[in-house]
Amino acid sequence: MEYWFGSIDGSGVCRPADGGAPELLARVRSLATDMRVFHPLTEEVIEGCGIFSDRREYIRRLREVTILHSREVIADAAQEKDAELLQMVRMLDQMDEVINLLTERLVEWYQVTDPSFSSKSRKGAGRRILPRITKSRSPPLRGVAREIEELGEARKRLATEVSRRAGGVIPNMSELVGGLVAARIMARAGGLTSLARMPGSSVQVLGAEAALFSHIRQGSPSPKHGLIFQHRRVHNAPREVRGQVARILAGKLAIAARIDFYRGSLDPDFVADAQARIDAAAGGVQ
C-alpha cells in the first residue's frame, strides 16, 4: 500500500520514500490509488513505521507536503492565460454600473443648480450631459463631474485592452463575435476551461440565468439568448429568426471555445464557414 511518506507491504514492513517535500509530492502525484482495495492510514500503521518521532512531527511533515501542493495548485490557476482577462472583464462591467449610478446622482444634483435644466428634455443618455455639468457654476459639482469623466476614460481604455487581449487568449471566439462580447461570455462561464466544456445550448443562455431558471421551475417561456444578444447579428436580426440566429451562433461559439482552449490559434477556415452559416440564418427572412 502506497502512502505519502512511503510504502507498506503485506507483512507490515515499511519503506520510507526518499527526499523532502517536493520529492514526496511528486511521488504522490505519480501514484494511482485504487479506492476499492485501498486501506487508509491508521495511527497504528503510522506509529509502527517508526519514521516519525511523534504525532506532532507526523502532522508537521505531512503539512509541508500538502501545503506545497496547495501553493502549486494556486500558482497554476493564476498562471492560466485567461485568469487576468477574466478579472478585467468583471472590472469593466462593474465600472459601467458604477459610472451609471454616479451619473444618475450627478444629474439630480445638477438639476438643483440649474433651474432651466430638465432631465426630461435632455437629449441622449446621462453620459452625454456630463460635459455640460463640468461647466456648472458649482465648484464641487464640477469636480465630481470631472472625476466621473475620468472614470469613463479609464473604462474606455480598459475596454480596448480587453478586446486586444481577447484576440490573443480566445482568437476564434473574438473573430466570431468581437473581443468584448467573447470575453464577457468567457467570464460568465467562469473561464475558458469551463466554457470549452459547455454545450452550445448553455452558451446560448449564458447571462440569462434568471429567465432560464424561471423557465425550468415555472415553465415560463425559455430564454432565446443571454449575453450573445449583445452581438449585432443577434440583436439586429428580425424577431422571427432571432432565436434561430442565437442558437446557431451559440453552437459555433461553443466550437470556437474548444478550438481556443485545446489548440489556441486562429482557424480561418472554421471562422469563414461559421460566419457564412450565421449570416445565412440572419439574412434568411427578409
Partner: protein, 205 residues
C-alpha cells in the same frame, strides 16, 4: 462543546474572519456556519479533543477554523484555487489543519495523505453529494460519524428540496450507512438539510 449565553463558541486565537469574541472565546455564528447551526439544533453533536476529522468542501476555512479549535486534526479538502488561498492563510495559524487541494469527487488523488477519521464532514455544492459521501466511507473508523450538509439546490433545482432529501437518504441507506438524525437547518439556512449517519455494521456486505 462550549456555549456562552446561548451562543456556541470555540476556544482559540480570534481574528480569522472578524468573528465576534465573547469572554475570550470565538463566537461561532449559526447563520454563517452550517455546522454551528446543526449543533444549535441538535445538542447531541459533539466535537472532542481526540477527534480526527475529514472535512470536504473546506472553502475559506471559516468553519474549519472552529472545528480545528476543538479537535486533534482536520484534513481540509478544497478544490477551487481562490478559496484555497484563504484556507492556507487559516492553516498558517492553526497547525492542526492539513489543507489538501483536491476534488472531493476523486478521493483516490489525495487518499495517500488522509488517515482514518472519527468524523467525516461534507459541505460541497455539487450535484452528486450522496455519491461523494459514499466514496469516502473507507476513511471512516468503525463507530465513526458522517455528517452531510445537503445543499438541495445544488442537487437538482427542478425537484422540491423534500424530494432531493428523501432520495439522498435512500441512497445513503443503500450504501451501508445508518441515518441517526436528519433535520432541516431552518431558521439558520434555507433549503439545506443535515444528515448525520454512522456506518452500519449489519448493512455492510
Amino acid at each position: 462543546m462550549i456555549r456562552i449565553d446561548g451562543n456556541l463558541v470555540s476556544p482559540g486565537p480570534g481574528g480569522v474572519y472578524n468573528e465576534r469574541m465573547a469572554k475570550g472565546y470565538r463566537v461561532w455564528d449559526p447563520y454563517r456556519s452550517k455546522l454551528s447551526a446543526l449543533c444549535m439544533l441538535d445538542p447531541k453533536i459533539d466535537l472532542t479533543a481526540d477527534m480526527r476529522v475529514l472535512y470536504l468542501g473546506a472553502a475559506n476555512g471559516t468553519t474549519v477554523s472552529h472545528v480545528a479549535d476543538y479537535v486533534d486534526v482536520v484534513y481540509a479538502v478544497e478544490f477551487a484555487p481562490r478559496p484555497l488561498r484563504d484556507l492556507l492563510a487559516v492553516s498558517e495559524k492553526r497547525k492542526n489543519i492539513v489543507p489538501i487541494a483536491g476534488d472531493a469527487t476523486r478521493p483516490d488523488r489525495y487518499a495517500p495523505f488522509v488517515e482514518m477519521v472519527d468524523l467525516l464532514y461534507q459541505d460541497v455544492a455539487q450535484p452528486d453529494q450522496a455519491g461523494i459521501l459514499i466514496k469516502h466511507i473507507p476513511f471512516l473508523k468503525a463507530g465513526g460519524t458522517a455528517i452531510l450538509m445537503l445543499k438541495t439546490r445544488s442537487v437538482d433545482i427542478r425537484q422540491t428540496p423534500e424530494a432531493v432529501f428523501a432520495e439522498t437518504i435512500t441512497r445513503l441507506t443503500d450504501s451501508g450507512l445508518r441515518v441517526v438524525t436528519s433535520c432541516w437547518l431552518e431558521p439558520y439556512h434555507h433549503d439545506h438539510a443535515a444528515i448525520v449517519c454512522v456506518v452500519d455494521p449489519a448493512g455492510m456486505s
